[in-house]
């Protein structure tokens, strides 16, 4: 039983990251019906920018761990949001009226571009965040030892997701985003600036993905230029699992995928855990082709 809870926390910690990245896929799909394949690389860019800022500013010596992590998160989110907006402007906007496949090819191209740009700038080897930036304490909850940072990481991803959910559901801009997701033409007739809404979506998604990259860097330490591929693939799966285009679906899908992986590793076989999680995805899609929460099409973003 103790092992079960331990594995559950392992799964949730990994799943939280998947969910944060999955939000970027799902939001873009919601408004543009486009799979943004470059999203995984925006995640890597977040991790690399975080390291650069961390090393160049020496924050941890000046203002302490907590304040510097918060500042770092904000800076990385802003920078990656700008890159996301630029990506949309350069790679997707000119293709808005063309066939959907054209935009997908453009997305793949953008992904290759980002990956190689990171490699060219930072080098092909792996980089390592400095050690002992964060306190390495374990908290004992119901007989299960959980490193404090995992709890913080999980809570941070939940807070970010909740904030996004309320932003989409309760604010005027959020309503505009939902309107564009349902019908761009009608939204434009209602006086919504569709281009600006799409730009905004391309800021929010990458910002969340970038913050996930920073968290992975800070916690796991090791980053390399193609790390976004694996995380991107998993997050994309999570988005589909939860119902692509649906924000709570991406959160649920991410957490679920993390837990399935951990449980598969724990109780079946580690070598088979990826086969298992993708097998579950196939089963769910056979039973519910729109994903777990994909039914509420009218509310998708």
């Amino acid at each position: 039983m103790e092992q079960f809870f331990q594995q559950l926390t392992n799964g949730l910690a990994v799943g939280g990251i998947y969910a944060l990245i999955a939000l970027g896929y799902t939001m873009v799909y919601g408004v543009l019906k486009l799979i943004n394949f470059a999203h995984g690389d925006l995640f890597s860019i977040g991790a690399y920018l975080g390291l650069t800022l961390l090393l160049s500013m020496g924050l941890f010596d000046k203002i302490g761990a907590l304040a510097s992590v918060l500042l770092l998160v904000v800076m990385v989110m802003v920078l990656v949001a700008i890159i996301g907006a630029l990506l949309e402007r350069v790679a997707y906007k000119p293709l808005r009226q063309s066939h959907r496949l054209t935009a997908v090819v453009s997305a793949l191209g953008a992904s290759i571009f980002f990956q190689n740009a990171i490699m060219a700038i930072y080098g092909p080897g792996l980089l390592v965040y400095p050690h002992d930036l964060l306190p390495r304490i374990a908290v004992n909850i119901f007989g299960v030892d959980i490193p404090l940072m995992r709890i913080v990481m999980f809570l941070a991803s939940v807070v970010l997701m909740a904030a996004l959910y309320f932003f989409i559901q309760k604010t005027k801009i959020g309503t505009a985003i939902r309107a564009v997701a349902i019908d761009q033409g009608a939204a434009r007739l209602m006086g919504i600036n569709v281009d600006r809404v799409i730009m905004l979506v391309f800021c929010i998604g990458p910002a969340l993905g970038g913050s996930a990259g920073l968290m992975v860097g800070l916690y796991y330490g090791q980053i390399n230029f193609n790390m976004g591929w694996m995380y991107g693939l998993k997050a994309f799966t999570a988005a589909i699992l939860g119902g692509i285009g649906n924000i709570p679906g991406a959160m649920l899908g991410g957490l679920l995928l993390g837990v399935i992986e951990a449980m598969g590793a724990a109780y079946i076989s580690i070598a088979w855990k990826d086969a298992l999680s993708f097998g579950v995805l196939i089963l769910i899609l056979i039973a519910r082709p729109t994903g777990l929460l994909g039914e509420r099409v009218a509310e998708k973003v």
Partner: protein, 376 residues
């Protein structure tokens, strides 16, 4: 515009003529296939630096018996698919022999391509057994084989007195081969294998695996995969507060391991490896170390890149002794006539299969400062 095209044409003609010019002087063209990108990029960069340095030394000394060496480098990305492309490209470049590459699965993807073009291939880090069991006449390697490493691993685990052993690999040809080998040997010695499974390389979070490993209560964890994952495991193992001793295979012999894990987590970690030049007393090894430090300002990263240097040196020796630049002659010389050549990693001789013979493996341990210390 027209003028520019004209200049371009002129330039390209000149370049062609230059190329032909060097073609007439006697040269031997040697290929190097190594992972310049991908997760083993630091190995590949070192391989390239070492071989480039040795080639430059050969050429400065007037070539090998007057034959100038022309090095062609291709990136295999540490990926079998890219390696096949790199190999195909190299076969069109009129090379006498090719050095490389690092990972066994990557080498395997390129083996037949070189074999069909009759090019001598000297692999440098590919230790999987079956690579030389295929009977390819022009394939050899400067690194030892997994069965030898498996034997040393079993002996080491036995010597350290471990009874319940957990084995973790990563499903690559190399890691799985070594894990299977060690498992069979340990079982026949009556040791208990409490855990045997594979992780997915390239992931960041191995906590699920470590939790499961911990519940099998092993005396020691034997990990046969590569250094990026070994570093992550050491780090996450410490975060979990689990301090089981860990022994690694030779693919974890890379200073990046300590960078990833941190000195505290890496301390006490042991691994098997051929000796690095710093631990050898031969004049060749000493000269190589001094030259490398002078050229690049630091010591070479790992022994695998140095084995690429040895691959170049045996090929150069074969060219020097036979005066030939044909693959079959070079291979015949290396397999039958080269005996106890003083390499950068100890004495080198090959058997008929193309395997390096001799007792190579040593046990290293990481000390508190993150240095790799050769164990007596």
């Amino acid at each position: 515009m027209k003028q520019r095209i004209c200049t371009l044409v002129c330039l390209s003609v000149m370049v062609c003529m230059l190329g032909m010019g060097t073609g007439w002087a006697k040269t031997v063209r040697i290929g190097l296939m190594c992972p310049l990108t991908g997760s083993w990029a630091s190995e590949g960069q070192d391989m390239k630096q070492i071989v480039e340095m040795l080639v430059a030394q050969s050429n400065e000394a007037g070539g090998i018996n007057g034959i100038q060496v022309d090095l062609v480098v291709e990136d295999d990305g540490g990926d079998p698919r890219q390696a096949a492309l790199a190999a195909t490209r190299l076969t069109t470049k009129d090379i006498a022999a090719v050095i490389g590459t690092y990972g066994s699965s990557v080498t395997e993807a390129s083996q037949n391509i070189y074999a069909e073009s009759d090019i001598l291939q000297v692999a440098t880090g590919s230790t999987a057994i079956r690579l030389t069991e295929k009977g390819l006449p022009l394939f050899m390697r400067t690194c030892p084989r997994d069965d030898e490493q498996g034997m040393v691993a079993a002996k080491t685990l036995d010597k350290l007195g471990f009874k319940k052993i957990a084995i973790l690999h990563d499903n690559t040809s190399y890691a799985k081969g070594l894990a299977d080998e060690a498992k069979a040997l340990l079982k026949s010695e009556g040791k208990e294998i409490v855990f045997f499974d594979a992780l997915t390389p390239g992931e960041r979070d191995y906590n699920a695996i470590l939790t499961k490993l911990k519940s099998s209560v092993p005396d020691v964890l034997f990990f046969t995969g590569y250094y990026p994952e070994a570093g992550m495991i050491l780090r996450q193992k410490m975060d979990m507060g689990w301090n089981v001793p860990m022994l690694g295979g030779d693919a974890t012999n890379n200073p990046d391991l300590v960078k990833i894990a941190g000195e505290k987590a890496a301390e006490g970690y042991m691994f098997l490896s051929p000796p690095v030049p710093g631990d050898l007393n031969t004049p060749e090894a000493k000269k190589f170390l001094t030259d490398y430090k002078a050229a690049y300002g630091k010591a070479p990263g790992s022994v695998w890149a140095v084995l690429a240097g040895d691959a170049y040196r045996v090929i150069a020796e074969a060219v020097a002794q036979t005066g030939a630049t044909k693959s079959d002659k070079l291979a015949a010389y290396l397999k039958h006539d080269l005996k106890d050549f003083s390499g950068l990693t100890g004495k080198i001789s090959f058997n008929d299969k193309g395997d390096r013979v001799g007792d190579l493996y040593r046990v290293y341990k990481v000390d508190a400062a993150g240095k790799f210390i050769l164990q007596p």
